[in-house]
């Protein structure tokens, strides 16, 4: 067996180069006993009108927190199996559960242009059955042991894995091994899944939210870019069983990563994989080099969704890579702009204007870059105004430093919420696997803390001016063109997001024409809409 590292990842407070961290200041509290106030008697309920609620002075003051508690250091074990599979294990002994996820660096980014959807379809096919167990038999066998075996593919990562109670780990691994050794890969299953995916595409094209999710990547990155492909009925039809066999045959262990958590030890994992997965050899696929996204041309892309009660809006721009030196200020900037309920976009669109149920903005990271996207699902008549508010909020991040309250809220909040990322073994492993995915060092959270502690408003403003351009955004609107077009036209003419004009797309993201609308008459209040 290869090297075994058992490491305690030092990431919080103690041992951190003596850094003085906000989160680590053991704020001294007065440990006086809390005021004991005589309770009202339970047997003399007064009628509501006569009720007086106590208003003790202590209620007016926010309580002082206790000393920052000691946080257990997460323990991550790393080792490599004989077949080259790199294992990351977080052990826990509280619950009799085990999860295993084997991740490969391949996904839809590797799909050829005319076969978009190949990776997802073919890797779904893998867990449809084995040579000896058809779909129903394979599922039944899993259910008989209350285990779940899965395979799926995302943009740049594909996974196979299993979750099981500890007592069922052995049969679970037997089934997983059988799936890898002798996958079913039946033509009839491929056809069924292909038809399912085609029907999914068909349905997605009817739903404004799905259309936006489907098309956004293509307008930000470009349809030919690995992150911009759009799966259509046509690309799905082009995928063959031979394609799938090839995709599946690339799922090999050497250089792939296996993330394990639960009531299981390194020795048990090694033993199980030696005895059950001896057949599994070869090199895992390597991720490919990804071209940068081109800056947006300030175009508003409009997809017409007749009768939509809301418009799904996104304002997007390409962003930096996840391992950029200014990641922390960039991330905090995005959080203040759109990262939470308290963010400027949400407080504006929802709590101030009442345009939406919520609004957010964030960077979506890929291995090869990112894009920022701010968006919301807004009342149809508020589409133009909401876009203008988002533009204002973006400009606000560039033009002035964030307030001390915002800085404090996000910086201290991020530091103090760190233990939440490690509160269970599964979350702990998730936090580390995320680092592994982006090629970041496993002690990254220590760096994160020290950078947060140093963070100031100037760095955040610099991140805004560096990564939120003054102009040249990609705007996507999925909504009722008949209602929203004039407002969008005005925004385009004023070059609020840049000078790219309006381009009308169909639900596949292909250029199309604006439908002819009947002539407009007087405005009338409309059912289901505010008469304001």
């Amino acid at each position: 067996m290869a090297i075994l590292h058992v490491r305690t990842i030092s990431w919080l407070c103690a041992g951190l180069l003596g850094l003085s961290l906000v989160a680590c200041d053991s704020k001294k509290t007065d440990t006086q006993p809390p005021d004991m106030v005589g309770p009202a008697k339970a047997d003399d309920p007064a009628p509501p009108a006569a009720v007086t609620w106590p208003d003790e002075p202590f209620r007016a003051t926010r309580p002082t927190p206790g000393p920052v508690p000691e946080t257990p250091q997460p323990k991550l074990e790393q080792f490599t199996l004989d077949n080259g599979l790199e294992v990351y294990l977080v052990h826990q002994d509280i619950l009799p559960t085990v999860t295993i996820n084997i991740a490969f660096e391949t996904g839809s980014a590797n799909d050829p242009g005319n076969k978009q959807g190949r990776s997802s379809l073919c890797i779904d096919l893998l867990s449809e059955g084995t040579k000896n167990l058809d779909k129903v038999a394979f599922e039944t066998k899993q259910a008989d042991h209350a285990v779940n075996i899965y395979s799926f593919s995302g943009t740049e990562s594909s996974s196979i894995g299993v979750s099981a109670l500890k007592a069922q780990l052995d049969p679970a691994l037997d089934l997983l091994a059988e799936m890898l050794r002798e996958p079913g890969l039946r033509a009839e299953d491929l056809d069924r899944l292909r038809e399912r995916n085609k029907a999914t595409v068909l349905q997605q094209k009817g739903s404004p939210g799905s259309i936006a999710r489907r098309v956004l990547g293509s307008v930000v990155w470009g349809k030919k870019h690995p992150y911009g492909g759009v799966t259509t009925e046509k690309t799905l039809s082009a995928i063959t069983l031979a394609d799938c066999k090839k995709v599946v045959s690339k799922l090999r262990p050497r250089g792939a990563r296996m993330f394990v958590t639960g009531q299981v030890t390194a020795a048990e994992i090694k033993q199980a994989f030696t005895s059950k997965f001896g057949f599994w050899k070869g090199a895992a696929p390597k991720s490919k080099k990804i071209a940068k996204a081109k800056p947006g041309a300030g175009t508003i892309y409009l997809v017409h969704s007749p009768g939509a009660a809301q418009s799904v809006i996104s304002v997007a721009t390409p962003g930096p890579k996840r391992d950029a030196a200014d990641y922390v200020p960039t991330e905090m900037m995005a959080k203040i702009l759109g990262g939470s309920f308290s963010s400027r976009i949400n407080m504006n669109l929802r709590e101030d204007k009442g345009y939406a149920y919520g609004g957010r903005g964030s960077f979506r990271y890929y291995r090869g870059g990112s894009h920022f996207s701010a968006g919301s699902s807004v009342r149809t008549d508020a589409t133009g105004p909401a876009l203008r508010e988002i533009a204002k909020e973006i400009a606000g991040m560039r033009d002035a430093p964030v307030t001390p309250e915002e800085l404090k809220r996000e910086r201290e909040g991020a530091l103090l919420a760190l233990p939440a990322r490690f509160s269970t073994a599964r979350r702990t492993l998730g936090s580390f696997s995320n680092l592994v995915f982006y090629g970041l060092p496993l002690d990254w959270y220590a760096t994160y803390q020290s950078q947060l502690a140093k963070l100031d408003a100037a760095a955040i403003q610099k991140a805004a001016t560096d990564h939120l351009p003054q102009t040249g955004y990609v705007v996507l609107v999925v909504g009722d063109a008949e209602v929203v077009y004039d407002d969008l036209k005005a925004i385009a003419d004023e070059k609020v997001f840049g000078g790219g004009g309006i381009k009308v797309l169909d639900a596949d993201g292909q250029p199309t024409k604006l439908p002819e609308f009947a002539p407009k008459t007087e405005d009338q209040p409309v059912k289901g809409q505010p008469a304001k």
Partner: protein
């Protein structure tokens, strides 16, 4: 060997012994093992007590990570709404985030965010309204300050502007979740068939636009005074605290609140359907035909509900369920099919939903669903099917113990419905005691009766006739930026 070791470092307050699952090491065909299973398989340690004002407190200690989940259930939901005010319980939930006397207006999230709070939210269903957050354990008192202030002093900052704003927000929520999505109309249609005018389940928890618009400040005051009294709430703390210290803090922040009458809830049982009622809907967002059958079913945990849970799994389980096998794998007529039994406070609903492949014949799909309903109501399911459901249920409970907040909600839910936060033990005993004849009996009892049938068909949207739909042309003037 079936007893897992406890956390080597710190006690987690969880006990998980293998019950049914232990007997299943490697059977080729699972056997009924319920009879000899130990009485207890999974449980959560807790202590429950009441303050003099009637506020219930449940403490679950888990010192493994320095966090506390704070979770308040008010025993009121949309099932307590009155005619003309559908959606009000949920609108009220939104108002609980708008501020209270001592914490200030609309800063609840800001404060929690700044102290490292996570999982911050509130939810409303027919039966209860809950509010929750996870805070670093040294900030437990800040969390109690926030929760006590809105329990005691929410009306102090209540104002017209914030109500008007949240009415609009909730209407946007309805648009986002129901009005602007495929199959959103279906859910309203089902409820309208099952529940007559006047029944609080008729317009769903989200409610009607016109009722949401009609809500007044007096409604908010009256609802608060009736339902949000300490004696109608249960506060659960789960996580890292000293028991005595937690009790003292709860006493400090909630103990001096007045003892007010616990409101009585009126159970409204829906009248049985006299005959099967069918609705055909056109949906401009849908691209696939959907068939949706619903029967009245027992209330949550009531007699018969466990058996119908089993029936829904046997029919609808993904992969091995009978309908899945026939409609998705066998005849390939359906894009998806699922079935679930949803017990609520007053009554329940048993659902079957099939979404069809383009071109599939709806009549054939309905015939298959009807055949399977007839079969499960006339012939016992197999022991293998029953066991699959049993171990799946038991295993699901174990997975559900992982997160602090799901443990808090688990204790709350059982406390709300049975008065015993530790009902999990009884629940699992009831699961293990199920037999195939009982499943047959209850399937026949409930599924052989008339039902609601809602068929959704894609609609080509008609071109607008002269004026825009879905929105006035001019946006309302902005109320002034921040």
């Amino acid at each position: 060997m079936c007893v897992p070791k406890r956390s080597s470092r710190r006690w987690s307050g969880l006990v998980v012994l293998f019950g049914v699952l232990c007997g299943l090491a490697s059977p080729a065909v699972p056997q009924a093992v319920a009879a000899d299973a130990p009485a207890q398989s999974a449980s959560i340690d807790f202590e429950r007590y009441k303050l003099d004002n009637g506020l219930e407190v449940i403490l679950h200690q888990d010192r493994s990570t320095p966090q506390v989940a704070i979770n308040v259930w008010y025993h009121v939901g949309s099932g307590d709404e009155v005619v003309g005010r559908s959606g009000f319980a949920h609108l009220f939930e939104h108002m609980m985030f708008q501020g209270a006397k001592h914490i200030g207006e609309d800063v609840h999230f800001d404060i929690l965010k700044e102290i490292g709070g996570t999982s911050i939210n509130g939810t409303t269903n027919t039966d209860r309204t809950n509010y929750f957050e996870i805070v670093p354990s040294n900030h437990l008192e800040t969390g109690l300050w926030l929760e006590s202030d809105r329990m005691g002093y929410m009306l102090d900052l209540l104002n017209e502007k914030s109500l008007a704003n949240q009415q609009e927000v909730v209407r946007n929520e309805r648009r986002q979740r129901y009005d602007n999505v495929p199959y959103g109309k279906d859910r309203f249609a089902v409820a309208e068939i099952l529940y007559p005018e006047g029944h609080p389940y008729r317009y769903l928890t989200i409610g009607r636009h016109e009722d949401l618009e009609a809500a007044k400040l007096e409604d908010v005051r009256a609802f608060f005074q009736k339902w949000y009294v300490p004696s109608n709430a249960t506060l659960t703390l789960a996580g890292d605290f000293e028991i005595d210290q937690a009790k003292a803090l709860v006493q400090k922040w909630f103990g001096s609140f007045p003892a007010l009458q616990k409101p009585t809830r009126t159970k409204v049982e829906p009248p049985p359907l006299q005959k099967t009622e069918r609705r055909e809907l056109k949906d401009s967002f849908a691209r696939l035909v959907q068939v949706h059958y619903v029967w009245h079913a027992p209330a949550y945990l009531a007699d018969g509900s466990f058996e119908l849970d089993v029936a829904s799994e046997v029919l609808g389980a993904q992969g091995w369920g009978r309908l899945y096998q026939r409609l998705v794998v066998g005849e390939k007529l359906a894009q998806l099919v699922y079935s679930y039994n949803h017990g609520k406070q007053f009554s329940g609903e048993f659902h079957i939903v099939a979404r069809l492949k383009p071109g599939a014949d709806p009549a054939r799909v309905e015939a298959i669903i009807q055949e399977e309903i007839a079969k499960i109501s006339t012939q016992p399911i197999t022991e293998a099917e029953l066991n699959r459901v049993k171990i799946g249920t038991e295993s699901g409970f174990v997975w559900g113990l992982e997160e602090l907040m799901s443990r808090a909600n688990r204790l709350q839910s059982f406390n709300h419905f049975t008065g015993d936060p530790g009902y999990m033990k009884t629940y699992l005993q009831r699961v293990r005691a199920l037999d195939v004849n009982a499943v047959l009996r209850e399937s026949k009892n409930w599924l052989a009766k008339p039902r609601a049938e809602v068929i959704t068909r894609p609609e080509k949207p008609t071109p607008h006739k002269g004026r825009p739909r879905g929105g006035t042309r001019k946006a309302p003037a902005a109320k002034g930026g921040k």
